[in-house]
């Protein structure tokens, strides 16, 4: 990995030189404070920009699937459509219905946004580009991302609206069910990787056949597929969008939210899609590692020239495209079908899969 750090386009050099510059200029507490503020600003900017890009991409790709044009009026190819939407949503009055529980109503978005922000901060975007890197990283991701369901339940409960209530209950049942599968499939990979720290997991997947997806033979592939299904269901999208089924519940748990308050839920939904794809990339597809094949030296050199964050975003983009494809292809499930899929199929398969993976790891049958 030392070879990649010397790469001209890697941002780790920039951050390291900035760090030494600030520490040389200021006392250490002031330098740290400025660095923390910089980290916060960068996180915020990436959060907003990724959401804007994803909203535009989703609308264009959906239009492509449905044989129509999609946004094409604001700017060239409708490129600044989502910027215009954001400005519009900022100019809306913030109102709440008389019968809501005001405190909980305004508290709910904090849970949803903070949960996705905390998860977002833990993603390894590139070589050395991660804000939070705990030694229990995988566990941290699962623990923090499940905070958002508290926000959703609070939103549904405090709205004092029957649609919101039903939407929140469905969302709660769906989220906690599929969180099990997502957690267990990530656990299967953690058994294979032998570590819970995200930076270690990524660093171990250097060559293509070291990617956790290929390294663990069939159980890893099964875990990947289960993770994709469960992650997709966790974001309340695609065939699993019962909590906000428009035709029955108007908008589900955020029916009573309007303007920017609604915008926060919208933002968090797209960011959660990105986060799920990002975790999938990190755990299964080698994270920010370039595609490298042992023995093909010329090929590896060319691939190494592309910086690590570009690889991360490219792989994540592929998984997001897959998620969009599923969303616009399959019809919506019923609540009992949804829960059956999880409890009667995915969970037992997952448990057996975990045991098989443990046997493979203990007897050293995986690709070393």
């Amino acid at each position: 990995m030392l070879l990649e750090i010397s790469h001209p386009l890697e941002l780790i050099k920039l951050t390291a030189s900035l760090d030494s510059f600030l520490h040389g200029l200021l006392p250490s507490w002031a330098a740290l404070l400025i660095e923390f503020i910089l980290v916060g600003v960068v996180l915020l900017a990436m959060y907003a920009v990724i959401a804007l890009i994803l909203i535009y991409a989703e609308r264009k790709i959906t239009a492509f699937f449905q044989c129509r044009y999609g946004p094409n009026r604001v700017g060239k190819y409708g490129l600044i459509q989502s910027v215009a939407d954001m400005v519009k949503i900022l100019l809306k009055e913030i109102i709440h219905v008389d019968s809501v529980d005001k405190f909980l109503f305004y508290l709910a978005p904090f849970f949803v946004i903070c949960a996705s922000m905390l998860t977002f901060a833990a993603l390894p975007f590139g070589n050395g580009l991660h804000a939070v890197d705990f030694n229990v990283g995988v566990f941290y991701l699962i623990a923090v991302s499940s905070l958002s369901i508290i926000g959703v339940l609070l939103a549904g409960w405090s709205s004092n609206n029957k649609y919101s209530m039903i939407g929140a209950m469905r969302s709660g049942a769906q989220f906690i069910s599929y969180e099990l599968s997502a957690g267990l499939s990530l656990l299967t990979v953690a058994v294979l990787a032998g570590s819970l720290q995200l930076s270690t997991i990524v660093a171990d997947q250097s060559y293509v056949y070291h990617w956790n997806l290929f390294r663990g033979h069939l159980p890893a592939v099964i875990a990947f597929i289960i993770y994709l299904i469960a992650g997709h269901a966790e974001t309340n999208r695609g065939p699993f969008d019962l909590p906000e089924a428009e035709s029955e519940l108007t908008a589900g748990y955020h029916t009573e939210y309007s303007g920017l308050q609604f915008g926060f839920y919208y933002l968090a939904e797209y960011l959660n899609m990105f986060i799920i794809a990002g975790i999938g990339t990190t755990m299964f597809l080698g994270g920010w590692n370039a595609i490298q094949v042992e023995g093909w030296d010329g090929f590896n050199q060319v691939m190494n020239f592309i910086p690590s964050y570009a690889w991360f975003f490219a792989k994540t983009g592929v998984l997001i495209f897959l998620s969009l494809w599923v969303r616009w292809t399959f019809p919506r499930l019923r609540i009992d079908q949804l829960l059956n899929l999880e409890w009667k199929y995915l969970l037992p398969i997952n448990l057996v899969n975990l045991v098989i993976m443990a046997i493979i790891v203990v007897f050293g049958l995986y690709i070393k």
Partner: protein, 139 residues
Amino acid sequence: MLGLLALKAIVRIVSNCNFSTENMNSSLFLVALITGASLIVAGLGMAILLSPKSFNPQKGEAYECGIPTKGTSWMQFHVGYYLYAILYLMFDVEAVFLFPWATVVRELGPSGLVSILFFILILGLGLAYAWRKGALKWK
């Protein structure tokens, strides 16, 4: 009173983080948390400053197809959700025990594998029991 307690807790958390490189992670965790909260506070502040304000009694009505809503919405809901929540609790606690195991599978070897097999087997039996009793059936 509650606000005071919350303030005290926040002060304690901040004072325990002696912003050094050793526990950089926990300080950065706090940074991310504050970033998320400030996104909402700043956004709402901007919206309040920029947006027009008007009064209309119908703005205060719950959204329900245009007719006034009947009764409270804080009512009883389907018991099925409750059953799934209990089942979830069982498996979630299991995951807490399995995560530390995942890091030491190689060191523990076959004997550790056998012990964890029994653990997973008992959990599987729990799921099978719930299935047999009809807890997984949506009525």
